[in-house]
Amino acid sequence: MKASLLEARRHPFSFLVKMLVYLAAVVTIGVLLYMIGFIVVKGAPHITPDLFAWEYTSENSSLMPALINTVIMTVLCLLIAVPLGIGAAIYLVEYAKRGSKLVKVIRMTAETLSGIPSIIYGLFGYLCFSTAMHWGYSLLSGILTLVIMILPLIIRTTEEALIAVPDMYREASFGLGAGKLRTIFRIILPAAVPGILSGVILSIGRIVGETAALIYTAGTVAQVPESLMKSGRTLALHMYSLSREGLHMDEAYATALVLLILVVCINGVSDLIAKKLEKTG
């Protein structure tokens, strides 16, 4: 204590800066904690069985259909985007010549895609899938829009995971007489699984939290649709509609809490995988 006082007197400006640094950190973490605390305190009392009823009515404003839609959407999105993304990354890392023009173009476009805000994706999905393809507001339009949105994320993380696999593995496999394809599927991909998985989980987080890209593609019907060509809203959209209407604020708090819990879980899993990666790598 005395030492720090002395330090403060000798270098008052340094001391001030130090305090500011600590203050900033406290503000950052504090805002997060406050936000989580606020939503937990206001939302927890309103988590009732009604909220998880199978059918949505304007009285219970159940989030169950939205939750089911979110799961359907996430699964189908990943089914399309993961093979595509991994395939693209395999081509970029294993097949393409380093520094070729094509690789540069692909990398640049992937980078561009990852910087585009979700409302632009939404606009594109609306123009391309809902209007030009005449699919209207449907799960399928929403899914394809999200696929394009998460593709760059999966490509990038898979690329990094593939690059991290030591060349020794490849050489040993070729040396034993395995073909390129066999090497990729038997040796390289298994070694890269944790890295790929962390990218996939990050994309799940983005799908679960997405609103702007879905509002004019998947639409806002609060039921589980009978087919992919019908509209259905995800949890994040459900939450947006609730708070826009302003009639069911208690339910909105509870929905926010559920959404928050989902995101915390997704983040926790990705942290776990990252830790495992550090240990093995």
Binding site: H11, S14, F15, L20, V21, Y22, A24, A25, V27, T28, V31, L32, M35, F38, I39, K42, L84, G85, I86, G87, A88, I90, Y91, A96, V105, I106, T109, T112, L113, G115, I116, P117, I119, I120, Y121, L123, F124, Y126, L127, A132, I148, L151, G179, G205, V208, G209, E210, T211, A212, I215, Y216, Y240, S243, R244, A256, L260, V263, I266, N267, D271
Partner: protein, 285 residues
Amino acid sequence: MNRFLEIFMKFLFFLAACTSVMAVALICIFLFANGIPAMKEIGLWNFLSGTVWKPTNGYFGILSFIMGSIYVTAGAILVGVPIGLLTSVFMAYYCPKKIYTICKTAINLMAGIPSVVYGFFGLVCIVPMMRDLTGKDGSTMLTASLLLGIMILPTIVSVCEAAIRSVPEPYYEGALALGATKERSVFATVLPAAKSGIVAGIVLGIGRAIGETMAVVMVAGNQPRMPKGLLKGVRTLTSNIVLEMGYAADLHREALIATGVVLFVFILIINICVSLLKRRSDYES
């Protein structure tokens, strides 16, 4: 047979790699093809510099939304950059090892929270707070700036921290050895050396802020007029699209798509800046 499979799979991988190129091309084609006719019909200059937006009367001027986007983003930068930068310094140089993982997890979590939850938090917490503070409507430019400032914090913190950590240790140690205090060493030698990385982080934050939609719609008031002050409501490019797309038709709809085109061009410019800065910081290290 095997040979055939090898070639076939290579082709398949190649096709997969081309999807991202195709996606960008499609996005450009659809946006420009649907947006440019409206710009022509309204007149590019009228569209960009008009301050009146009355779709029912045929007035389509988006200058007020452009200004709204710029003001709100500037406010978010004013809020987010100082706090974010100082926090990243804390993470890199001051944070005790024991709580570092906790802090890192918290920042990651902050980045993962969906924007609609931020918007909701703004709507139910910051807006009433502002209303009590100012005695007027709480959905203002200030509220939106504050909320966006919070939302871009994780981006700025993680990019700046990475930039600060990539500065070679001897810079810091050398300054300490010359008798500078820890603060002086960090702020006068390390930060300038990490400059381009930090700027890249800030520009990335600008991109986030300008493209953010749902959170802004929920707290900014959305009045379609020129922004008049910190404590007045604004409408941004993004919220204009989301608010009116649902019921717009004909020229109105096309004008909204053209709004998206303007936003898209903004974002492309920002993206180019980021990649230029990244290249420079790679080159420096």
